[in-house]
Symmetry: C3
Subunit: 409 residues, 3 copies
C-alpha cells in the first residue's frame, strides 16, 4: 500500500464531527505530509519587533526543527536566516538571543554581515566568490510590528489578509507596542492537539477556573473560543449581552468588524464580562491605554492570523500566542504580552498583572494537551464526537483533511 | 524475505538446550509476535484486591504499554478499563493510584461511573447516546483475591487452572489476606530474560547469598527454582530431606499436591530448610499464621500461574511476583507481600522482616538481568548451553519456540 | 533505489574540494558502510600499556558500540575480549576498570582465566567442552607500548607501517613511558567531523587562542595541522623558520624523517615556535627528557597511525589522541599524556602543566564539533568549499569517497 492509498483510506475512514484517528496526531509520515501541505507554506508568527530594538539584536526561532536567526540589521531592517554556516555547516549563533555587530561563525570565523551576506572568509581559493555564500535566508514579513517567518510560503496570501488585520493592529497601536513579558512552553504534543485545545472552550469550565472567573458565563458557552465556537442555543442566550456591549462600542466609535478569511484566519471583537474593562484578574486596568483607545470599551479583539497564531488584545494590553510545530510530538507554545511602547514597567504596568490570565491558562493547557497526547497514543484510543462547544474543531478538522486530500489525489 | 520466513529461519537455527538468539531478546518485530502469540492472550496478575479496599479505590496497571485503570466500583465489584477518554482521548486518571467517586476526565469533564459507563457529557448533540461511550473495558478475573487482567484472552484457560490453584489459595487464606509491602522494579530487559532469571537457581549461589542462607543447600541444587529445575543426581541427593519434610506435612494434614498444567502453570510445595519455619532471614515467624495453618510445617508453596506470575507462600506470609512485559526491552517487576487480613502492622508483623528475602533477591535480579540484556545486545553474543540447573529454561524455550512456530506456519 | 545506487548518486553528486553532504555525516546506513569499508577493519589505538601495570589489570574499551575488555594476563601478556559471557550473554565486567585474578561472570559465576579461556563452569552436562567457551577474542597488537584493537583487521597493514612508526616511538622512549594524565570527551558528532576538525588548522586562530600562543604564527598558517595542511604561499613563507630548526636538529643528530604511508598514516617532525623547548604554556620543560633525547630540540613529532589515531610528542612528553567511532552521531575522544616511565609526579612533572595545551584545545574542539554536527543536521546545510588551510580535508574526503565507491561498485 502506498503512502497515498494508506492516507486516502485514513481520510475515507474519518467519521464527520469526530476527532482524528491516532495516525494524524502521532505518525511521522503524516507530519511530513502536514509540512508539505500546510506547515512549510504557512507564515508563522515569530514575535514582536520590540524584541529587537537595536541593530545586531537577534534571537533564535525554532521552526519545524530548524533554528532561524531573526535579527535587526545595521540598516535597521529585519532579517531571518538559517543558523547554519555556509562553509562547513556549523551553528553560527550559539546563544538563544543577544546582540552582535556581525555574525562570526565560532568554527573558522567566516563573518556574515547583519543582512546575512558574507563579509569575510580568510584564505579561500582565488575563484571563491563571497557573494555566493551568504547565510541562507528565510522568508520574513513584518506587519505592524509583528514578524512572520516561513520556510516556503509565497507572499500573496500574506498580503491578502494583511489589509484586514491592519485595521485592528492599527487601532490597538501594535506597531508601537513593547514586550511586557514572554512565556515559553515546549509541549510534548502534536500541533493539531495544541490547536484544537485552543479553539474550543468546552474545557474552560472544568479546566480553567481562573479564565472563567474573568469571562462572562453566557459568553463562555456561546463564544468562549470566539464567535461560532459554541452551539446555536447558547448563542441566542448570549445575544442580548453582546448587543448591549456593541452599542457602547459604537457609541465610542471603536471598530467592531468581523471576518472569516479562510484557512483559520479571521477576526472578531467581543466583550469580556459585564463590568470588566480589560482581561485582568479583577477587570481593572493593568497598563496605559494602547493605540487609539481613549476610553475602555471592555472588549477583547481576537485576530487569528491562521490556526497556529493569534492576538488577543484588550484596550490596555495584548497577548500574542503562537503554537509552532517542531516535530510530530513536539510543539513550541509561546505567549508574548504587549503594552504601550511608552509605558514603563513598575510605573505604568506590572508584568505579572498584565500576564496573569493567559499565563495561568496556558500552563494549564500545556498539561491538558500532553495528557491528551498520551491517551491518543494508546491502542485503545477511538476518536469521539465533538460537542456543541467544539464547532471550531469540526471546522478545523474538515479544513485539515481537505488540505491533505488534495495532496493524496 | 518475509517476517515468517525470517522467523522460521531463526527457529530452525535454534540449537536445542541453548539460550535464544539475540533477535528473540531484542527485536521489536519479535516482540510484536510475542504479543500476538502469547502476551495479549495471557492473564496477567495485577495484584491483590486488598489494594482496593473501598469503592472508588483505583490504581493504574502498566500492561504491554497500556495504562489500565483497575478499581473497585460502588457495587463493590472490581473493574478494569483503559485509561483513555472516549471523547478526545485524554488520560482520565493522572495519578498512579487514589480514590474517586467517579472518573472525571480532566479535559472536558466527561464523567464515568466507577463501572466505566458514561454518566454525563455536557452539551453533546441530541443524537448522542452515552451508553455507547463507556470507558473501554479490559478483561478482568478475580481468583481468591488475586486480580488478573488480559487484553485479549478468553476465560476458558483461566477457569481450567483456577480449580487447581484454588486448593492452595484457599488453604493459605489468600482471599482474606492484606498487603504488607509492595516493591516495583522497572527493569530494562526483555520479559524472557526476566522469566529465565527467575526459573533457574544456577545463579543463586554466585548472586544471592542472602537467599541461599535461608534455603537448604541440597534443595538449592536440586530444586532451587522448583521441582525439576535441577539435575537428576542433585534430585536424588535431596530426596531424603524432602521425604522427611513430607512426612511431617502429612502428619499435620496439610496439602502437598503437585501439578504441571502446561504453559508454565503449575504448583508444588517444598521445605525451606531444616529448622526454618518460614522464608525469613532467621527462619522464625514474621507474622500470624494464615488461612488454615494452625502449626508451622516449614514449607513454601509455589504457584506458577504462568511463566510471568507467581505466588511463593510460607505459612505466615506470601509473596506475589509479576514480570509484566512493557516493550521489547522493558519489563515491570513487582512484588506484593501478603499477610493475614486481620494482622496489624507493628503488632503482628514487621513489613521489613516479612519482605526481607525477596526484597534483597529481586533487587539483585534486576541488576543481573539488565547486565544480561546489555551483553545480549552485543554483536559478539552467542547463545550458550544451559546447565543441569537450568532445566526449566530448556523447557521454557522449547515451549516459547513452539508457540512462535505455530504463528510462523 | 538500492542502497548501492543511492550511495553511488551521493558520491557522484559530491563537488570536489567541498565538505560532504549531510547523509555522510548523519545517516545510520552510511555509518554501516563506514564500518564495512573502513572502521571494522581499522586498527584502533586503545591506549598505553602502562595503564595495565600488573596481571589482572583491565579496562573497558568502547569501540563501535562494543565493550572490549583489555587486560594484562598472568603471563604478563595483553589480551582483548568482548565483554560478553559465553553462557547466557551477561556483561562479565561491570566496572569500567579495575584488577581481577580471573573474570567471574556476575550471573552464574562462569570463570574465565585472564587469557579469556574458560576455567570453570559448574554443573554443565557431561559433553560440555570448556575449551569451546572462552571469551570471544578481539584482535590486539602492541607497538612500543601502544595497544591497537580491531574487530576485523588482518595484521598485514599493521606490520607494514609498524617499521616506520617504530623509529620515532623508539627515539621518544614510548615503550618505557607512563601515563601522566587521561581525558575522555564523549562527543555527539560523526567520526568524520571529529577527524576533519583535527586535520585542519583553519580554525586555530578563531577557536584556539591558547594553542596559537604556543605555536609559531607562520607555521600555523603553513602547517598547523601538519606538513601539507596549509596553502603553498604560506609554506614558502615558513620555509626559513623550518630550515633553521632542521639544522639544529641535524646538528644534534635527532631524527627528522617524514613519510606518508597512505590511508591517513604518516609522520613528520616540526618546530614548535622559536624559543619554545616543548609544547607547554611557556615553552619551558614540563618533565624529564624522554627516550634518547639528551637535549631539547624544540620539535614536536607527529605520528598519524591512521585518520583516527595520533601521537604528538615533544621531547619531554607525548599526547596520544584517539577519535573512536561509537555510532553515526557519537565519537569517543580520548587523550593520554605520557611522560618518562621513571619520572615521578609532583617531583619530575606536574600533570596539569604536561597536559595544558591539548586539554584546553580538545575541550574547545568538542564544543566546536558538536555545533558543527548540529548545523549539518539542518535541512539548510549545504557543503561549502574548503579553504587553503584545509588541504588535508580535501585529501581525507577524496580518500573516504574512494573507499566507499569501491564498496558501491
Amino acid at each position: 500500500m502506498t503512502l497515498n492509498s494508506a492516507l486516502q483510506q485514513l481520510i475515507d475512514d474519518h467519521a464527520a464531527g469526530h476527532a482524528l484517528a491516532q495516525a494524524f496526531y502521532a505518525d511521522p509520515g503524516v507530519f511530513s505530509l502536514d509540512r508539505e501541505t500546510i506547515l512549510d507554506e504557512s507564515w508563522h508568527l515569530a514575535g514582536h519587533v520590540s524584541r529587537l530594538p537595536r541593530p545586531g539584536d537577534y534571537f533564535l526561532f525554532n521552526l519545524l526543527g530548524e533554528e532561524i536567526i531573526i535579527n535587526r540589521g545595521s540598516d535597521d531592517g529585519l532579517y531571518a536566516h538559517y543558523n547554519v554556516c555556509r562553509h562547513r555547516g556549523s551553528r553560527v549563533c550559539l546563544e538563544r538571543e543577544g546582540r552582535k555587530s556581525s555574525f562570526v561563525c565560532p568554527y573558522h570565523a567566516w563573518t556574515y554581515n547583519l543582512d546575512g551576506s558574507l563579509r569575510a572568509a580568510r584564505l579561500m581559493d582565488a575563484g571563491f566568490n563571497p557573494q555566493e555564500y551568504g547565510l541562507q535566508p528565510c522568508r520574513l514579513r513584518v506587519l505592524n510590528g509583528l514578524m512572520f517567518v516561513s520556510l516556503a510560503a509565497d507572499s500573496e496570501e500574506f498580503d491578502e489578509n494583511a489589509g484586514h488585520f491592519r485595521k485592528y493592529l492599527d487601532f490597538h497601536g501594535i506597531e508601537d507596542a513593547k514586550i511586557a513579558h514572554r512565556l515559553e512552553l515546549p509541549t510534548d504534543a502534536n500541533w493539531k492537539l495544541v490547536v484544537e485545545n485552543f479553539i474550543e472552550c468546552y474545557h474552560c469550565i472544568p479546566s480553567h477556573p481562573e479564565y472563567c472567573s474573568v469571562h462572562s458565563e453566557l459568553k463562555l458557552l456561546a463564544a468562549g473560543a470566539g464567535i461560532g465556537s459554541g452551539p446555536e442555543d447558547a448563542c441566542r442566550a448570549y445575544e442580548a449581552e453582546h448587543k448591549a456591549w456593541l452599542e457602547r462600542v459604537e457609541a465610542l466609535g471603536h471598530p467592531c468588524d468581523e471576518g472569516d478569511f479562510g484557512n483559520g484566519a479571521g477576526m472578531v471583537r467581543m466583550p469580556i464580562k459585564p463590568g470588566y474593562l480589560t482581561e485582568s484578574q479583577d477587570g481593572q486596568p493593568v497598563a496605559s491605554l494602547m493605540g487609539r483607545f481613549e476610553e475602555y470599551d471592555g472588549g477583547v479583539t481576537v485576530i487569528a492570523f491562521n490556526y497556529m497564531n493569534y492576538m488577543l488584545a484588550s484596550n490596555d494590553h495584548a497577548a500574542l500566542l503562537r503554537f509552532t510545530p517542531v516535530s510530530e510530538l513536539k510543539t513550541e507554545v509561546e505567549a508574548t504580552w504587549l503594552v504601550d511602547g511608552k509605558a514603563e514597567a513598575g510605573v505604568d504596568y506590572d508584568p505579572e498583572r498584565v500576564s496573569w490570565v493567559w499565563d495561568v491558562t496556558l500552563k494549564q493547557d500545556a498539561v491538558i494537551t500532553e495528557n491528551n497526547q498520551a491517551g491518543v497514543l494508546s491502542a485503545a484510543y477511538r476518536p469521539g464526537p465533538y460537542s456543541g462547544q467544539e464547532m471550531m474543531n469540526r471546522k478545523f478538522i474538515e479544513w485539515y483533511l481537505e488540505k491533505l486530500a488534495q495532496r493524496a489525489d
